[in-house]
Amino acid sequence: MARDTISAAPGGIAAPASQPTTTASQPVTGAVTGVTTRRRKRASIGRIALYTILTITALVWLIPLVTSLYTAIRTFGDTTQYGPWSFPPHSFTLANFSQAWVQGDFSQYFLNTFLVVIPSIVLMLLGSSMTAYVLARHEFRGRKFLYVTYVAGMLLPYQVLIIPVYWLSNQLNIYNTPLALIAIFTTFEFGFCTFVLYGFMRGIPKELTDAAFVDGASAFQVWWRIILPLCMPALATLATLEFTWKWNDYLWPITLISDSRWFTVTAGLGQLQGEFVNNWNEITAGALLVAIPTLIIYVALQRYFIGGLLVGSNK
């Protein structure tokens, strides 16, 4: 009986509409009414100038990426003989990418990074949603203190942690293993995730959880079957954003991992630069390889990513 009520609830009720995450993740497209229409007639020269400036800015912004790609798809011989900026290219190759992937050990680095990032995100979201749930739904002594602990923690500069965390991982014998990275990746963003999820959970109507309690659901069931499913938009946003951040993180891997066998992609990229000293065809190919997963996220999950940035802007 109770079970039925609970499992029926998430389907029947839409996620709270007034939440920051849902509003924030709407695609950002222009919609200012009458003012613009009138203005358009008035100043078409202004509009041409506007388009010109915007187009130039956007193209300039793409230059670093495009030039890297242009170098990465040419052979070393081609760029040395004709110069790296000769156009059209005298060669087209994907060998630089496969070289970085195989010789540069990027296949290993990719695996290592996934091995660290995925468990961290799962553990982090579980932990912070548990805390956020208790904070949002239950009154108890020290509640405010707990809230402050997390909110203040999310503003700590990571530099303050490096030395003791380095020492701690040594003491726990997890230095130079993925566990060290999982430990810090899981906990470091607890504050931020708790903060975001707490805000989101406050928007879930109290009647929902109260009704479940009345029907005899336990606190665990309420969290697992009502709160978590309703928090899906927020969880998806956080997962997208945190994946990008953790994938891109550089400081922790170079601090906690010294053996290239366990390097993540960013640490491996530094290694690549040392290996292929002046072979920029290889280096740019490696850099682009590292960027691919985040670029996929950017294209496929842009909505979540921006939504996360906006919520994360409080960070």
Binding site: T36, V134, G153, Q159, I163, D249, G286, S313
Partner: protein
Amino acid sequence: MQPARRSRKRGWSLDRITLILFVAVPLFFYMIWVWGPTAATIALSFTHFDGITSPTFNGLTNYVRLAQDPQFHQALFNNLIWLFAFLTLPLAGGLALAVALDRKIRFSRFYQSAIYLPMVLALPVIALMFQWFFLPSDGLVNTILHALSNNRLSPGWLADPHLALSTILIAAIWRQVGYVMILYLAGLKGIDPAMREAAYIDGAGEWKLFRNVTFPLLRPVTIIVLVISVIEALRAFDLVWVMTGQEPGYAEVLATLMYREAIHNYEAGYGSAVAVALFLISLGFIITYLIRQLRTEEEL
């Protein structure tokens, strides 16, 4: 029904244990990996510590050294330059772009996507791209400069001690503009069009409209952008570390100084003092932010 719920909260019921575990388990790990180390860093800053053997108390020695260390002054100065750079170009540029893109404009998505694309790239990736871009011999920038100046103009960029920081800042700004733009765009969406409409009907010109209506309404966003700029400017590490090949020299910032001292030079005590200095500088902003946050919390 209400009493039934109340009784649930008393005594050592299963729910109570669940809730305690829900709070205690994450908190335990948070204390061990985040707050504990923060406290430890503060404690270590009053010790001589090589990172391996046990630390010995040496009072304010590290801080005295800090005050006299020209490298520390250089790093602090560079962080301030970084902050100044973030508070000018990306702020103005991001705001201008947001205002431009907020109008009904074609290809708006393309423009936005191009400008905030750097946000998803790893900083070491950005660092390498710009290193290649600014390479003194073969880089695109110098190739163009050589062609334009008949080979007379050939700045060393990252290799030039006086240009290194500026070159790094170009990469940092390239990334930051999109961030600021997205924040302001979201802020602009939140403004009631009727307010601007009203001002427009009152005969306010474009600039007046922006200055007297739009910008003041964006105040909350501006505060967030300021806080972010400060924090990002103080945290700067990756770009400097990669672009200078781990030897920042004149481009040293607090984070790289701290890292070099603590991890490379086995001066963890002194490194901690640098970290604490960095922490103290950002503390003012953290407290301001917290007070604001707690106030909104009370309103809930």
